[in-house]
């Protein structure tokens, strides 16, 4: 997982280097990287610490946003704060972190209030209400930002950096606010973990048990607003919701316990934050937001592909090995049938006989026999032209034939299938049926000896010679 992430990071960083070659002529990349991570430069120090803090808090809050299915709320809220940012700026006439924090939080709260008002008073549903508020607040914000830039002091203001983020513009005041919000999030989630968990999972139950669900919901929304507002400087209004959702979504794919999801999401957020800040610095202060989100997306892609339980690669691999097993079991069954047709006289089965029964070419049969012998199920003789069961192969073949015939018999006897309907069904079931079920079927069939076509069902004593006699 981590190695995959690193590999992808490398890919991204090389492409970033390619992009900035024209921008950057005097200094080389190594020096730049050293400058970034040695933390000599105070502004870089702020950028790095700020990115780490915002990664953590975005990951934590984002996890709850994802499991509460409020991802769109995060997006709407982040766009809705822009007018507040602009008004906060106008109020202080400079980029005062505190004024902007207050303005943005108020705008965010007004935005969410408008969403719930629309929901309560009209027939519109939440998604439409969110879309409305997102776009209209954002439009107001853009107008205000453009106005500010036309002011005499405007073009040096750095207010445009709020759109796509600029980690290098993070000041000591910003870091202090970020630290405050991060600590507040960690403290709230640790202290009220139980409450956050139960209200997220089953709000009706939580309310019936006496928990103040509305209060908890609004507290989470307020924390979310704080998180968005402090992350704005680094990630920007447009992409901050991606930093909330992407690390949490990646964590969701990797684990099925909430506390682990929180830890992983915080870690992924941190990685994405640092990566974004670093790459934007390498690229001579390119906007940070897109790089952070790219970092987070890279982590998500890795989780999607290489997740140990639900990852695409693992699932593909499992399916592949399962189909390999089924192919081998079918070949074993065919060898058994060849032997059965001559009443088990003469134990060697010629490749030609196998190919004939399976209606395939000698080459295909040979490939199958090689696969079987590699798994220790048959031994080959006479240059691979004659096959003998190994004890393991014999046992597995008997089990499969037994499963097949018992299932056929069960379908005809108990489920009243017509005898000519059962074969295809049994061809599938024989590979998946468990020992317990087989025993149960056998009991219900009162240890029948023959399948619906009159062929003998291999008994336990054929499969495990030592257990002979237990059948009674």
């Amino acid at each position: 997982m981590t190695t995959g992430a690193i590999a992808l990071c490398l890919v991204i960083s090389t492409s970033a280097e390619a992009a900035k070659v024209s921008d950057l002529t005097s200094t080389n990349i190594g020096e730049q990287a050293l400058r970034f991570f040695s933390l000599q430069d105070p502004s870089l120090r702020f950028a790095l610490v700020g990115s780490i803090l915002l990664g953590i808090t975005c990951g934590l809050l984002g996890s709850f946003i994802v499991v509460r299915k409020m991802a769109l709320v995060g997006d709407a809220l982040s766009h809705a704060v822009l007018p507040g940012v602009a008004l906060g700026f106008l109020w202080g006439q400079t980029k005062d972190p505190f004024a902007i924090f207050v303005g943005a939080t108020i705008a965010g709260l007004i935005g969410t209030t408008v969403v719930s008002l629309i929901k309560q008073t009209t027939r519109l549903k939440e998604d439409a209400a969110l879309g409305l508020v997102l776009a209209s607040f954002f439009a107001v914000g853009i107008c205000l930002v453009t106005m500010i830039q036309r002011l005499p002091t405007g073009n040096k203001s750095g207010i445009d950096k709020f759109l796509f983020g600029q980690a290098a513009a993070i000041s000591a005041g910003d870091v202090r606010l970020m630290a405050f919000v991060t600590l507040l999030s960690i403290a709230t989630i640790t202290v009220f973990y139980k409450e956050c968990l139960v209200t997220s999972f089953d709000v009706g139950f939580a309310r019936a048990a006496g928990f103040p669900t509305q209060l908890i919901h609004h507290s989470i929304m307020l924390l979310l607003a704080f998180t968005i507002v402090v992350a704005l400087q680094a990630v920007g209004v447009v992409l901050v919701s991606a930093m909330l959702i992407t690390p949490a979504a990646a964590a969701y794919l990797l684990t099925d316990r909430m506390h682990r999801m929180l830890l992983l999401a915080a870690l992924f957020g941190m990685i994405a934050g640092v990566l974004g800040a670093f790459l934007s610095f390498l690229g001579n202060n390119l906007p940070t937001g897109p790089f952070m989100v790219l970092g987070a997306s890279a982590v998500f892609v890795c989780a999607f592909l290489f997740g140990p339980k639900h990852g695409v690669v693992v699932r593909w691999w499992k399916r592949r090995s399962r189909s390999g097993r089924i192919r081998r079991e079918n070949a074993l069954k065919s060898i058994y049938r060849v032997l059965e047709e001559r009443d088990f006289r003469d134990e060697g089965v010629a490749l030609r006989e196998l190919a004939q029964l399976r209606r395939e070419s000698i080459e295909e049969a040979r490939a199958e026999s090689v696969d079987l012998s590699r798994h220790g199920l048959v031994s080959t003789h006479e240059e691979g032209n004659v096959l003998f069961f190994t004890p393991k192969g014999w046992q597995r073949a008997c089990e499969i034939v037994r499963n097949h015939r018992l299932w056929e018999l069960y379908l005809t006897n108990a489920v009243q299938y017509a005898p000519d309907h059962v074969h295809e069904d049994a061809d599938v079931i024989e590979h998946v049926i468990g020992t317990e079920t087989v025993r149960e079927i056998e009991r219900r069939l009162q240890f029948a000896k023959r399948d619906p076509h009159g062929r003998l069902i291999p008994g336990l004593e054929d499969i495990y010679p030592s257990t002979a006699g237990r059948r009674a």
């Binding site: 089953d202 684990t255 909430m258």
Partner: protein
């Protein structure tokens, strides 16, 4: 002492859903230690009734008393089994985590579940034969198993009055009989249970008493007395359309909260 007080007492309870009245002036006095079924057609307000009683829906008028006390004072004596479909079963928690939530109400704010709470949760899982699944993620469970987990969580609440919303819907026969055994066991221990139920034939054999509901209380009493053709006809027959017409009018005029 309130020990002889009715488990649940409703007086003139009216409940509106999206401003449309769904329950009209319900009076009810439920004795302790009974297994009670709530039956009625779709849209009769069965779920609404138990949700309103537990304070999950606002009440337009009337009042609720639980063991002779106002609801707020008796929350700890109430256990709840919501409809299975009301939660997201892909939520990242284990079976054990869900059952432990049954202990949260007793713990109050901030406090974490203790070792004893875990013991109680394990015992409750054992009662519904789900202990081997304690560490599974909940999405890997069948419908019947999910229902058992919800029951175990309610058991962990160690309440005196239980509200269950369709615990028998979509479960296998084995789970259904396991639930019935459990309900009978709870009744032996003096617990009171109100169970929303969809299936009339089984309602007759499962419950001691029945609440026949169709926007108003049609009848409440011992199953043998109220499970009559006439009362069922009133409950399920189309004679109540006037009530729902009026409910629409009330909604239009925005009369109720």
């Amino acid at each position: 002492m309130h020990d002889t007080a009715p488990a649940l007492e409703l007086h003139d309870l009216t409940v509106a859903y999206h401003k449309k009245p769904v329950l009209w002036g319900i009076d009810l006095e439920v004795p302790q230690g009974k297994l009670i079924g709530i039956v009625g057609p779709n849209g009769a307000g069965k779920s609404t009734l138990i949700k309103a009683v537990m304070g999950l829906l606002p009440i337009s008028s009337g009042w609720v008393k639980v063991f002779g006390q106002p609801l707020k004072k008796s929350l700890q004596r109430i256990g709840y089994v919501p409809q299975r479909e009301s939660v997201d079963w892909d939520f990242p928690v284990s079976v054990m985590d869900v059952v432990l939530m049954g202990r949260y109400g007793r713990l109050g704010l901030i406090k974490r579940p203790t070792k004893e709470d875990r013991e109680v949760a394990r015992a409750c899982l054992e009662k519904v034969h789900m202990l081997p699944y304690a560490n599974r993620q909940i999405s890997n469970l069948s419908g019947g198993q999910q229902q058992r987990v919800f029951l175990a969580r309610a058991l962990a609440q160690e309440s005196d009055l239980y509200f269950m919303d369709e615990p028998f819907s979509g479960v296998d026969a084995a789970t259904e009989s396991a639930i019935i055994t459990l309900l009978h066991e709870l009744r032996e221990r003096g617990k009171t249970m109100l169970v929303v139920h969809h299936d009339l034939p089984t309602a007759r054999e499962y419950f001691d008493m029945l609440i026949l509901l169709n926007m108003r209380l049609v009848a409440f009493g011992p199953t043998s007395e109220v499970f009559t053709n006439e009362l069922l006809q009133t409950t399920y027959g189309g004679r109540l359309t006037i009530l729902s017409d009026v409910a629409e009018a009330v909604k239009e005029q925005r009369i109720l909260r």
